[in-house]
Amino acid sequence: MKRIGAFFTAGILLLTVLCFYACKDAASGEQEVLDSYGFVQDFSDRQGYRGWWYLFGDSAEGFKPMTYHEDFGEYRGEDYWSRLSVYDSIPGLNSEIAVGFSVPKTCTLSVSSTIYRHPPEGFGIGQDGVWYYSYCNSFTDAEELLFSEMIVDTEITVHTLTYETQVQEGDMLYFVINSRTNQSNDNCVLDIRIDLGGAA
């Protein structure tokens, strides 16, 4: 009986190891709750790491996770140009890109985000800028947006956007870049910092 018990223990230990391995890559695996998060500092090749999701699609119809391209070091969506990284983010021809943040605990959090467009080419053909906006979980009209900013035409200044809001654990914040009518020269550089306050 002792012998059986010894092997059983070995089995349990192994189970732990295997579970750990499996969860390491899983988007929904248990993760430590931090005080602050940063899109650039936390950027990862793993969807869901530190709560960040890299998405494409449409805020009305829903977003899907992008695919991390190991050679290019950036996420790609299923649309021409659709890509997202710390250096360069571009909405697709017919789709938006979004950074999602899965809230790890119920609290009041504050957001500070910067965005700027890469210097556009000399002539403004097709350069109608981008629309950058944020919401929690979903929205039905513009009133519910947590911020909304047009970065128009050939403008290349850095825009800083902030808000503070109460959230529940599991809520998803979305930071969306929309190409407006076309996505010519819509290359943007984005950062988002999120600080978690105390319990709500």
């Binding site: 059986i4 391995y21 695919t67 391209h69």
Partner: protein, 666 residues
Amino acid sequence: MKKFWAIFLAVLFCVPLVACGGGSVKKEEFTVSFAQKSGTLPQNVKKFDMFTSDWTWAGTSPGAFDEEMLTVVPAIEDVMSENLRIGMGIGTEYKSIGYEIGRLTDGSTDAEYASVFKLLTALEQNHVQPYLSICYGPDYSRVNGNWKNTPDSEKYETFVRNLVQTVERNGYNAVYEIWNEPDNSAFFTGDWEDYTETYLAGARGVRAADPDAFLVGMSAAWMNERATAMRTRKIGDESKQMTDLAYFIERTYGDCLADAFSWHYYGHDGETEDLGADSFSYYLNSYRDVLNGYLATGLYPALETVQTHINEYNVYIAGTTEKYMSAEIVPYMFRAMDDLLAAGDVTSINWAALVGEKNDKLSYELINGLSYERYPAYYALWMFARLPVDRIDCGIEAEGILSYAGADDGRAGILLCNASGITREITLRATDLPFASADATLYIADDVHKTYRSSNLPYVLAKQENMPCADGLYITVELAPNATAYFEFNDADGTAADNDYRVSKGTYLRTDYWYPERRDGAPWSDYVQSSGSAYVGMSDNAVGKSAVSVTLDDCRDVEFCMQYDVWGDAQPSAAATLGFRVDYELSGGGYADAVLYHFEGFGFDQSVPFGSGGAVSKKVSLGLPGKGSVPIRLRDHAPADWTGRVQITYIVKDAGNGACAKFLIR
């Protein structure tokens, strides 16, 4: 029973219910012993190759090349595809890799192939042979302005000759196919006779450029019609009723006979059978019936070595439902693969397609051409590719569970696909693993476990290194409907799996097969170019024969160790052959001084349609059938006027029911 539980190292892994689709769960236990290989079952032969359409490699403007797309080339090698069939789109007005070829020239300048060469270089680096579908009509040979029209024969011959010369002058070894789907008005406006003339012109061009080049003909969209519909045709002065396939055979038999006949097959919504004349078996057996009819006459012996390539294949055609991008399609794929593996005489199946159209529409792709996401269908092929060829009978008879297993000296693998429609909890016991300790990995492909990466590796559900194997291993996994799990055990001491090896002996020229019998379950043979591994087997037959021959150049100083292994019920007899022969090419032409290396009791000197074909000059016994190796220095038995080229032909004949052998050049 107590002892059983005590000596097995328990590995229990439970996937959360939400990850498995919920619903009822059926629990089962299976034991798979790796002690004995099966020779009667179809082996896990690596004959699933790849296809990409004209536009896959093209950039966003005509003539441009999509450099980024080259990052998917390693994905071809990782599913053990020996070749990539490339639609070239020559002469078309749309974006294609062959856009520049023959547009302003006769196809003879390197510059017009710049895009093609980028791809060919990447393929070569990844041990994948290019399979160029020379379609369609370039400006140079065009008649009446349309690339779909029957080209001017003389000019087309010149063009194809120039194309082959240019490709080979630049150091590439490719397969050449004349046109694509000439029986589809979307790609050819002429009739079958017009295509046959076009083929003959192209074939003459290929042969003139390089007599050793591998030539493919037909590329038929609808073999169900080509092999059955009777039409009045004129051969010489004689008019007779015949099928298009028969007409093609009779018109091309001789110097222009193709090395492979090619045709395409797409299933309906995943199904490939019970579709009447659209069933895969109807396509294949109608085609075989015509070939067998000619073979039976004894007047067309060269047809015995014409290969069958289904060089566009899928269980569905590009459609409008997302299930093709989900795991739902995978059970259909494995069911179809059972049929394809049973058809030993089909030597290459090009999955359509590696990458589909690069837009946001639904396509028939394994990899999304914009996001580079690998779909479950890709992972299914990846998992099958990893399985050793040497088949293990799983003995799993559970309704709705599709299973495959294989083992060689470096790897053992078990693949389970849940086609049952309900969640299954499966405890799998792997016993008699062929090594002392294993690095074990459990991969899964379903709609929940996604990597969200461009990596070719499926989701790793569990991994553990250095697990002692003496007492077996077991693991429990829940499989959602349509999920596929692949359990891989690699020798922790580092012995490589047979097909992970990359051979570099001599210069590879081509592979030829001998299939005197065209039916499911006939004796078979296979050669894996990249690893130099050859397999022959009797399947469930006591009598019958097959052979595969590989032609290698630059072998004067080549020495290697031929490792071999035999399994199944090999039965020696005076009529039995099991082994390989080496034929030496003479500088004056032809082959001579063949040496037959055979197992004891399997030394019948079977003539073959390769090398000198006839009696061998020498026999070397490998001893009783079993595992071993023999050092071979090719020059030892070479004639004085040897060119340095050899044909190594692996043969099985009347070797006993289920007899199977492999030969590995190392």
